[in-house]
Symmetry: C2
Subunit: 350 residues, 2 copies
DNA sequence: TTCGCTTAGTTATACGTATTACTAAGACAA
DNA sequence: TTGTCTTAGTAATACGTATAACTAAGCGAA
C-alpha cells in the first residue's frame, strides 16, 4: 500500500505535475465540516446556521490554502458569467477604446468583466458575434451592429441576454430587452453643415462610408444643403478608415471644380482626408476646410473641427443599463432608447 | 394529470418566463438516444460506435432545436476557458488597441477569445489582475506589469496559467511557463538620442514616467548623452498620459535655458509636450524638436519622429506563444524571450 | 414526559458537458 | 451449441459550486 503524500488530484492516468487549485471540498476536509458549510460561509455575510467559531475557522483555512472560487463552476451553477461582451467593428478605431473604458468603469464595481469582440463591420463578423453570444458566454451585450436588423437580434432576448445598441438615432420602444443609447446623428450632422455654410462655404462635399451611422449623418447633411439651395455632394468609400478617407479625398481633388469644405462622416475619414490634402500641398483650412464626426482624442491635437460624441459616457450609460437589466426581473421591462447630447467642437480645420 | 405543453425547464418554483436553451439532453430525448451519444457525435469527427444514420439524425435534431454548446459547462468539464486575458495599463492608450488586434487575429482562429483587463498601471490594479486570473477565468495571459516582479507572478505558473510578458529588454530564460516578447528599448532610445545629437542638438531633455518601460529608455538615452560628453536631463511626471507630458513640458519651458530637443519616453508624453509647446507659441521643430517612443497611429499624422514598436506583431507573437504553450505538454518548456526589431521613424518633429 | 424550538450543521441534488467503462444483441466460426 | 468478435450504443461519473431540504442534539416549557 503506497502512501501518496503529494496530493495530486486530477492526476488520474498520467502523473505529470498537474497543478490544481484548492476547492471548497479541500477546505471542508481540512476544517472538518461539509462542503455546504464552506459555501455558505464564503458567500453569505450572515450565516445563522454556522456559529462564529466555525465561521472563522473555515475562513482561516480558506485563507491558508489560498482558496479562490472556481469561476467556471460558479458560472455553470448560477447561470451567470459575470461578463459583458462589447461587440464593435474594430478596437483600433480610436472611438472605441474610450467607450470600452466607460463600460469597464461601471462594470467592474458591479462585478462584471468586459470581453471585446471585433466584427470588422462585416455581416459575417456580426453573425459570428451572435452565434457566439448564444453559447452563454456573456450575461449582457453592448454592441454596434451595422448590418443585423432587430429581427435577427431578437434571438438574444429570447435567450435572456439583454442587449444595448449604440445607435445613431432614436429607436421606438419595443417589448424586448433591447435598449439603445444614441446621439441624434441627423441633427448633429445638420448643425455641422449649417456651421460650414455660415462660414461661407457653398461647395461642401461629404465623405461617406458604405454602412453604419454614416447614413444618418448623410441625411442631416443632405437636408440642410437642400434647404440652403445647395446640392449635396456625396462621395462614398467602403470603410471607416484613414485609407478610405484619403482615397475619397484624392478623388475629390482630381475634380475640375473642387469643394471648399469636406465633411467626413467620421473622424478617421476626416483624418485620412486631411492627410491626403496635405500631401497634395493644400493648406487647411485656407485651401480647403475639413470637418469630422466623433471627436476622437487626436481630433483635438490636430485641430479638427468635429462633432463630439461622448464615448466614455455612452459606454458608462450602456453598462448601467445592462446592470439594471440583470437585476431580478429586469428583463421584463420594455426596451428604452436613451439620448446623449452631442457638441460641435469648433477648432482650426474649418 | 395536467399536460404541460410549454416546455418550461428551470421553472421550478416561479413560473416566470425563464428562457432556457436546448441542451444535449433535449437532443438525446428528441432523437431517441443517450446524452453520451449526442456529445460524441457533436464533438468527434469520427464516431466508430455511432453509425452514419444515427449520426445524421442527431445532427439534424441539433440543428432543428438550434443547439449551441453551453460554454460554462464546457469550461468546467474540460478545465479550459478558451479565453486569453490581456492585462494592460489602459486600453485608451493608443499603443494597446493595435496590440489587442494582433492578439485577436491569432487567437480567434485558434478558438480563443480575448478579455481586456485594465490595471491603470497601479500596483493594486496589477494585484487584482493576478487575483482574478487565479479564479481560472483564462487559459493564458498576455500582460504588461509595471510593478509586479517575477516572484509575484510565479503563482500563475504554479497554477498552470502560462504568461507572456511584454518587456522592454531581454529576459533570461527561466524554468517556468513565463515567456516574454520584447523590443530592445535601451538600444532604441540610444539610437534615437544619437539621431538627435547628429541633428546638432546638445541640450536634449527626456520626459519620463515614474514606472514601466520608461526606465530602460532613460537608460539608453543617458548612456549616449554621457558618451557624447553631454549631461542627461531628466524630468519625471507620473503617468503615460498627455497631461503628464504637457505638465513636464511646461516645466521645461519655464527654465531660463530651454532644451532644444525633447525626447518623450512614450508617444503620448511627446504629444502632450507638443501640445504644450504649441500653446506656448513655439514652432516645431524650429523652436524646439520633439521625439517620441511607440509610433502610435497618430504619430504619423502629426509628423512625430519616434521609435516604432510593432504593436500588432507583438500581440500576434504573444498569442502564438500562448497557443503553443497550451498544446499538450507545452507548459513544461523553459520560458523564452523573443525579440522584435524597432525602427526609427524620422518625421518632421525632429 | 413529551412536544416543540433552536442550534449547527449535513445530505442530496442540479447545472451541462466529456469521457471511461461497461453491455446487449447479433454475426460468425469452430 | 458454445464462444468470440463486432456493432451500437448506454450508464455512470466527475468537474466545483450553490442551495433546498433535511436532521440530530440539546434545551425549555407545558
Amino acid at each position: 500500500m503506497a502512501t501518496s503524500i503529494t496530493r495530486t488530484k486530477r492526476g488520474k492516468g498520467r502523473d505529470i505535475a498537474a497543478p490544481s487549485r484548492p476547492t471548497q471540498k479541500d477546505i471542508a476536509l481540512a476544517a472538518g465540516v461539509s462542503q455546504a458549510a464552506v459555501s455558505l460561509v464564503l458567500n453569505k455575510a450572515e450565516t445563522p446556521s454556522v456559529p462564529p467559531a466555525t465561521r472563522t475557522r473555515i475562513l482561516e483555512v480558506a485563507q491558508e490554502l489560498g482558496y479562490r472560487p472556481n469561476h467556471p463552476a460558479r458560472m455553470l451553477r448560477s447561470a451567470r458569467t459575470m461578463t459583458f461582451a462589447c461587440v464593435i467593428p474594430d478596437i483600433t478605431n480610436p472611438f472605441y477604446p474610450g467607450l470600452v473604458r466607460g463600460l469597464q468603469t461601471v462594470a467592474a464595481p458591479a462585478g462584471y468583466d468586459v470581453l471585446i469582440f471585433d466584427t470588422d463591420g462585416r455581416p459575417e463578423g456580426e453573425v459570428r458575434a451572435v452565434e457566439w453570444l448564444l453559447q452563454g458566454r456573456a450575461d449582457g451585450v453592448v454592441a454596434t451592429f451595422f448590418h443585423l436588423r432587430a429581427s435577427q437580434l431578437a434571438v438574444l432576448s429570447r435567450n435572456g441576454i439583454p442587449l444595448v445598441r449604440l445607435e445613431s438615432q432614436h429607436k421606438p420602444d419595443g417589448p424586448l430587452a433591447i435598449d439603445s443609447v444614441y446621439i441624434d446623428n441627423v441633427e448633429a450632422a445638420a448643425e455641422m453643415t449649417r456651421f460650414l455654410i455660415a462660414r461661407g462655404h457653398r461647395r461642401i462635399a461629404m465623405i461617406q462610408a458604405e454602412f453604419g451611422p454614416s447614413q444618418r449623418r448623410a441625411q442631416g447633411y443632405g437636408a440642410v444643403m437642400r434647404d440652403a439651395g445647395l446640392s449635396p455632394d456625396f462621395i462614398t468609400d467602403s470603410a471607416y478608415s484613414e485609407e478610405s478617407g484619403a482615397r475619397a479625398m484624392k478623388r475629390l481633388l482630381e475634380r475640375k471644380e473642387r469643394p471648399t469644405a469636406v465633411f467626413g462622416a467620421s473622424d478617421v475619414l476626416a483624418l485620412g482626408a486631411m492627410e491626403a490634402a496635405r500631401i497634395a500641398g493644400l493648406s487647411i483650412p485656407n485651401d480647403i476646410a475639413i470637418a469630422g464626426f466623433d471627436d476622437i482624442p487626436v481630433a483635438k491635437l490636430l485641430g479638427l473641427t468635429t462633432v463630439r460624441q461622448p464615448e466614455f459616457d455612452l459606454g458608462a450609460l450602456a453598462a448601467r443599463t445592462l446592470v439594471r437589466r440583470l437585476l431580478p426581473g429586469g428583463l421584463e421591462a420594455p426596451g428604452k432608447s436613451h439620448e446623449l447630447k452631442f457638441e460641435i467642437m469648433k477648432r482650426t480645420s474649418a
